[in-house]
Amino acid sequence: MAAGVIKAGVTKDCATAIPRRRVAAVSSDRAVRIAAAINGLAQAEGVPVSIRHVSQACADAVDAVGVAVYLISEFGLGEPLYATDPVSEHITELQVTLGEGPATMALEEHRPILEPDMTGVHAQRTWPLFGPESVADGVLGVFAFPLTMGAIAVGALEIYRPRTGPLSATELDDAFVFSDMAMQLILDAVDDDPAMMEATLLASDFGLRWAELHQAVGMVSAQLDSEVTTAFLRLRAHAFRTGRRLLSVADDVVNGRLRFDEESSDDSEPTP
């Protein structure tokens, strides 16, 4: 790999003797600066570096209203892993509900998808469902970067801005480095023992709410006696049709307030 390779390593903090994970830059001023920003956030909290810190530092660096990270999941979509704020959470939820959007496309096409104007013709044509919803949320610029290892994309990092306009050259370069850092953290987590992996990747509130979605999918598949893919599509169709948030629909299912039996009236609608 070229300059800008970021390695994470375990170093001992002598004062507290707790093993700390730091993201360490091995070359390039940009990488050093970015690693310092990420490490600073983690140290301020007194916790090991996680995706949360990478996302927050990225949002600060590129003057964004929020950042989200996805991991690729079994339906070929991104599974939101973390989002810095409620608006960003909603945007990721929208992409999973609607099955379209910049991060979704970045994952499919293994290349950055940079949309400086969600109100413009290109965005409206490319994402006819997601575009207007994103604008309605006040997110006018969306920039998605696949997290890749060679030929394989394992996730995406998505940047949200409240105004139109492209990322500057510096911001773009920074975004690539942040994506690399996110990739490195994920790589390290895969090598770690399961407990550490949970801590690094999967233990945010947002992540737990996505667990509820999968539970709902399981429940609906049992209610319909169908495959999980069918159940997922039905849940998604319901959210889409009623204009409700997917996670909210999932919560209703898990708590017994919404069923998808053959007899129930909810099932008469065909999937979009």
Binding site: S73, E74, M149, G150, A151, V190, H214, S221, Q223, D225
Partner: protein, 242 residues
């Protein structure tokens, strides 16, 4: 004519940069090309494996193959020195330097080889193996021959490292996929079992784990079976009569 054949060899080696090539096949071809084009009588290649052990992977003749094997077994020979130092190693006449690699030299002479040249398979600090060139006649192998051999080795090295990086990244991506998918399947199974058994999601998880333990099956397996409506777990998913 020779130039064109040398160029053609580079083109063949460039295949190593393409996904799906057979590394052993390409290295075997390389040893044969060296014999055809570089006025040597035999060539052999050693590569270091994932455990750090040198393995003979290709040779142009059975004799060269035996020599490479011998070197590896007995830790004595120009290819090994080349690998350990990362530098080119040569001997123009094995009879005049018997003390250098005593056992290798004896076997080489027995097989009819008098001169040897080793070039490293190296990219910057990484040495992944070495290539040996053998001649029946004593005499130094010319510098431009060595240069071409080194260039062949350099291209092959880049191809091998590229292939290994890709393999590792595929492996990690797979691991990540498995870890993530397992988690998803377990959540789906919790939901499906909660519905089938009319219990809470938490209770469903307890049932899943107990079943996995008592049947000595991994939790993820049981979860997958529940989600796939596999009849083998019917005793878990059927609603129990009150």
């Amino acid at each position: 004519m020779l130039d064109r054949q040398i160029t053609q060899t580079f083109v063949e080696l460039a295949d190593t940069l393409v996904v799906g090539f057979d590394i052993i096949e390409i290295l075997q071809t390389l040893t044969e090309r060296c014999v055809d084009l570089l006025d040597v009588d035999a060539a052999g290649i050693l590569l270091v494996d994932a455990r750090g052990t040198l393995q003979m992977v290709a040779a142009s003749t059975e004799q060269a193959r035996l020599l490479e094997l011998f070197q590896v077994q007995d830790e004595d020979g120009p290819c090994l020195d080349c690998f350990h130092t990362g530098e080119q190693v040569a001997c123009a006449d094995l009879t005049t330097e018997p003390q250098r690699w005593p056992r290798f030299a004896a076997v080489a002479r027995e097989r009819g080889f008098a001169a040897v040249q080793a070039v490293p398979l190296r990219l910057r600090d990484q040495v992944i193996g070495a290539m040996n060139l053998f001649r029946a006649e004593a005499g130094a192998i010319p510098a431009d021959t060595i240069a071409v051999a080194q260039s062949f080795a350099d291209v092959a090295t880049i191809g091998i490292l590229n292939m290994r990086a890709l393999a590792r990244s595929e492996q990690v991506a797979e691991q990540l996929q498995i870890a993530l998918t397992s988690r998803i399947v377990i959540e789906q199974a919790k939901g499906a079992l909660a519905e089938r058994r009319k219990v809470s999601v938490g209770e469903a998880f307890t049932l899943l784990r107990a079943y996995a333990r008592s049947h000595s099956r991994p939790l993820t397996d049981v979860a997958r079976a529940v989600v796939n409506r596999d009849p083998t777990v019917a005793d878990l998913t059927l609603r129990k009569p009150r």
